[in-house]
């Protein structure tokens, strides 16, 4: 038993930190309907600020902790409340875009300031403590666990007993109604977000000494919190606490049980248990148990203006002419960047098909691309002709599209985004380094094409090869858009309920769109690795899961056109890098902040033009109710 306790006790402590982070997440989601993908960034921000105050400004840790709580918990919470307010009526896609933009922006900001390396952080809580069944338990473990328990119990009682707690749950559904009852929805939302951000800040400060301070690790910590929240079905605080404990203790115990296993996939299961659990919950929890908060209030997208062939044909002809002339217009040194940009346009196109045409969210497009790239490399090395290998790379990603479509059958909106996010990370962490994908050496060599006796290995020839494939992919997207499936996809994006009410099988529609999207992303991935003639799944490299978040953020501010927007996005994301201004180290360092800010801007701009329901509105409502006798007249003192 004492052998197990060695693993269980630190597991409980880790689980307690996950619980504190998850409580903040559930609290804000329950009260705003906005699932904060940037929760990890908030946790990271707290850890960095705590480091700044304690280690760089040499403040005593309690003072540093209070200052961090004020900066992240209160000021950060109030800023997040404003963001959530502007997102209250936004379509789910834009809510995801905004919070992903925030994540990208904050992560880039702190990486730019503190560098990409992990900052070491000395423990500050007392480490000594009693022995339990022969196992030394530190005071820090006791404090962290007590904090998590107190937080869970306190919030649970607050939601059930306090008037403000009940109001917090009502504010997401109908703030106007709440204001008519004399409770300010703004005050309720502010309290919820400051509490939520404070919980996130505390978890960041508690985890910093355990793992050091690193942007990616904090994002991973947040995903453990997502997982705990998923076990609590994103609403139950006690179940969230329990889920966090299962993750903490489970990770620790599994690490012990599998420490002698020499299989690369199995031995990487323990640290990746949170992602596995998150995806499993999304895959198996009944649909009715996951009800999206605040969805009844969302507005649709403004319909796009359509252009006839008289306008479109000249534009397409001009675009093709520019595409053909590019090798002659740009220097040879820059041509490969354009080729990569074209390949990215296919991946952006696959994402646009999901997002803008059918209203489905995917945060794992680069995982599809990675499968396409690695399969392409394997197929070429096995002697398969280039074109066949490319087609094979696309087709092999289709079953993955099916796998992701399974949660899409039952889930939509925010839950689908979470499921695809978990799937992307799971694939990267468990399979990228296996022989099925990039292998343990993490580098696959691949040749450029020789098709029908033509040598297309030069940069220029490869550019034209990619251009032809990209034009064909665009033709596929246009054909899908104009087909019956395209009309059904647009119907799915606008109103799945109406489609079902007319006999439409939305499961089949979702299955088709995910398969086509995965196929295109697979092709795009294969084309990308053809540029450098090597494929790698290195963390932080081309196919890193954070890249999928960047893609979403960039595509969001490039419009909602199915063909034009992916090309603009690819240009912004890849091709601009060849220009001196965009190669400046400072610009490279800060570009994520700009991408993030633009994504947030696109998501909230429609709400800013809508009249804001503030205190004046609340006062008017109360006056109106008083006037017609539904509220008592205020008493005036002499």
């Amino acid at each position: 038993m004492s052998h197990l306790l060695i693993y269980i006790i630190p597991g409980i402590s880790d689980g307690a930190v996950y619980a504190i982070a998850a409580l903040g997440l559930v609290l804000t989601y329950k009260t705003s309907g906005v699932f904060n993908f940037a929760h990890g960034a908030v946790i990271g921000a707290a850890a960095y600020l705590f480091y700044q105050f304690r280690d760089r400004q040499h403040m005593p840790w309690p003072v540093a902790a209070v200052l961090t709580l004020i900066c992240v918990g209160i000021i950060g919470g109030l800023l997040l409340e404003r963001l959530a307010y502007y997102l209250a009526d936004a379509p789910t896609v834009m809510r995801v875009v905004a919070t992903v933009g925030l994540l990208v922006g904050i992560d880039t900001l702190f990486t730019a300031i503190y560098g990409a390396q992990t900052l070491q952080f000395a423990p500050y809580l007392p480490q000594g403590g009693p022995e339990i069944a022969g196992v030394q338990v530190s005071a820090a473990d006791f404090i962290i666990t007590a904090l998590a328990l107190a937080g869970t119990a306190g919030l649970y009682l607050f939601f059930r007993r306090a008037k403000l707690g009940v109001a917090m749950q009502a504010v997401v559904d109908d703030p106007s109604l709440l204001s008519l009852q004399g409770t300010s929805p703004i005050a309720v939302r502010r309290l919820a977000w400051t509490l939520g951000a404070s919980f996130a800040a505390i978890s960041g400060m508690l985890f910093a000494p355990e793992i050091g301070i690193d942007v990616n690790d904090m994002t991973i910590l947040a995903i453990a919190a997502f997982s705990a929240a998923a076990i609590g079905l994103f609403k139950s605080l006690p179940l969230t606490f329990l889920g966090a404990m299962v993750i903490g203790v489970g990770t620790s115990l599994l690490g012990d049980a599998l420490q002698n296993v020499r299989n690369i996939t199995i031995e990487s299961i323990p640290p990746n248990l949170p992602f596995l659990l998150l995806f499993a919950v999304m895959l198996f929890v009944p649909r009715g148990k996951l009800v999206e908060q605040g969805i009844g209030r969302v507005r649709g997208f403004k319909p796009l203006r359509r252009y006839g062939p008289r306008i479109m044909l000249p534009i397409v002809a001009l675009a093709l002419a520019v595409g053909i002339l590019i090798p002659n217009l740009v220097g040879a040194a820059y041509l490969n960047q354009y080729t990569t940009g074209l390949a990215y346009a296919v991946i952006f196109g696959s994402l646009a098909l999901l997002l803008w045409t059918s209203g489905q969210i995917s945060l794992c497009q680069l995982a599809f691309a990675a499968v396409g790239a690695s399969t392409f490399a394997h197929a070429l090395s096995s002697g398969m002709p280039w074109l066949v290998a490319l087609l094979f790379a696309g087709l092999i990603t289709v079953p993955l599209g099916v796998l992701v479509a399974i949660p899409a059958f039952r889930l939509s909106g925010i839950y689908l985004a979470i499921a695809t996010f978990a799937f992307g990370i799971m694939l990267e962490r468990l399979f990228y380094t296996t022989f099925l994908m990039f292998g343990s050496s993490d580098a696959l060599e691949l040749p450029r094409p020789r098709i029908f006796g033509l040598n297309l290995t030069s940069d220029k020839a490869y550019y034209y090869t990619v251009l032809v494939v990209v034009v064909l992919c665009c033709a596929v997207i246009v054909l899908v858009g104009r087909s019956r499936l395209g009309r059904l996809l647009r119907g799915l994006g606008d109103s799945p309920a109406a489609l079902e009410a007319h006999g439409g099988n939305t499961k089949v529609t979702r299955l088709f769109v995910f398969c086509i999207s995965a196929f295109l992303a697979g092709i795009g991935g294969a084309l990308i690795v053809g540029v450098t003639q090597s494929a790698s799944g290195t963390s932080g490299g081309t196919f890193d899961f954070t890249g999928s978040l960047f893609l979403l953020a960039v595509l969001a501010f490039c419009g909602r056109r199915p063909i034009l927007s992916p090309f603009i996005a690819a240009f912004v994301y890849q091709v601009t890098k060849i220009y001196p201004f965009f190669r400046d180290p400072n610009v490279v360092k800060w570009e994520g902040v700009v991408f993030g800010a633009l994504a947030i801007g696109v998501a909230i701009v429609p709400a800013i033009t809508v009249p804001i329901r503030g205190r004046a509105s609340l006062r008017r409502s109360q006056q109106a109710m008083t006037g017609i006798g539904l509220l008592p007249m205020p008493e005036f003192s002499a």
Partner: protein
């Protein structure tokens, strides 16, 4: 022409946790006529709709479309078997034009007939969809709006688009959930005329949930009245609306009803 069917609900009970929203309700809506389902807010009308359509699971009882029992089927399957519906809160394809909206109704239905139906549209299907859309838009008087984007249109026109889409789809029975909400008096009258014309021309039965008593009394031949999930009255429209039970439960005081009745009579007289 598709054989039309009656809709029959036998002893339906719907519970949400401890709350019984619909309690042992039995009703029958015939093909070729409009049947009204009325009652105060919270009476359980939309719950019955949702249970018939498969969006809500009934705790007990059964739903029949003609001779076909629907209880074990999901929403899409019930619709493809011929049970159509509209929504209290309109569900339109806002990014599409009026013509595309109306056409997507029958096209969706046709796509469900074959496993690969979503990928492939035969020339015959295409022609059928176009013809059905044309006729439905003409009937609803929205042919002139065919190229307008639905998301930018006013409520009255959007209601007609939703009706046209339902009419264009080869349903055997239609359930309309408060179709006149948001319409003014003139629009409501026009809506009633279209509905009557559609029913008399096609023989499709309609179950109508509606708060507008003028519309109910003008188009319905038979009415069921619900209160707190229980059926409290049913029968021919005029007698049912005049019954004391309905007045006290739904219409409020005698004087209010009398005003409605008098204004309706006056209107009928002026038309005559």
């Amino acid at each position: 022409m598709t054989a039309q069917s009656d809709l029959r609900v036998d002893n339906m009970t719907v519970r949400f946790g401890g709350l019984t929203a619909v309690d042992s309700v039995t009703l029958e809506a015939k093909a070729g006529v409009v049947t009204g389902l009325i009652g105060p807010n919270g009476a359980g009308k939309t719950t019955i709709f949702n249970a018939c359509a498969g969006a809500v699971k009934a705790s007990s009882g059964s739903t029949w479309l003609g001779e076909v029992r629907l209880d074990h089927h999901g929403v899409a399957r019930r619709a493809s078997l011929g049970l159509g519906r509209t929504f209290q809160r309109m569900e339109l394809f806002n990014s599409m034009t009026v013509n595309e909206n109306v056409a997507l109704g029958p096209e969706t239905m046709f796509s469900s007939r074959r496993p690969w139906g979503q990928l492939w549209c035969s020339r015959r299907d295409g022609a059928d969809v176009a013809e059905r859309s044309r006729v439905a838009m003409q009937l609803c008087g929205i042919s002139g709006l065919a190229t307008r984007t639905v998301g930018d249109m006013p409520t009255g026109q959007r209601r007609l688009v939703e009706l046209a889409r339902a009419i264009a789809t080869p349903f055997k029975f239609l359930m309309l959930d408060e179709p006149s909400s948001g319409l003014d008096v003139v629009e409501t009258e026009k809506f009633g005329d279209i509905l009557q014309k559609f029913v008399s021309e096609t023989g499709v039965g309609v179950l109508l949930v509606e708060h507008d008593i003028a519309l109910v009394s003008s188009v319905c031949s038979h009415i069921y009245v619900l209160e707190f999930g229980n059926l409290i009255s049913s029968g021919a429209a005029a007698e049912t609306l005049a019954s004391d039970a309905v007045r006290s439960a739904y219409l409020g005081t005698d004087s209010v009803y009398s005003e409605v009745e008098q204004s309706d009579r006056a209107e009928v007289g002026s038309h005559a």
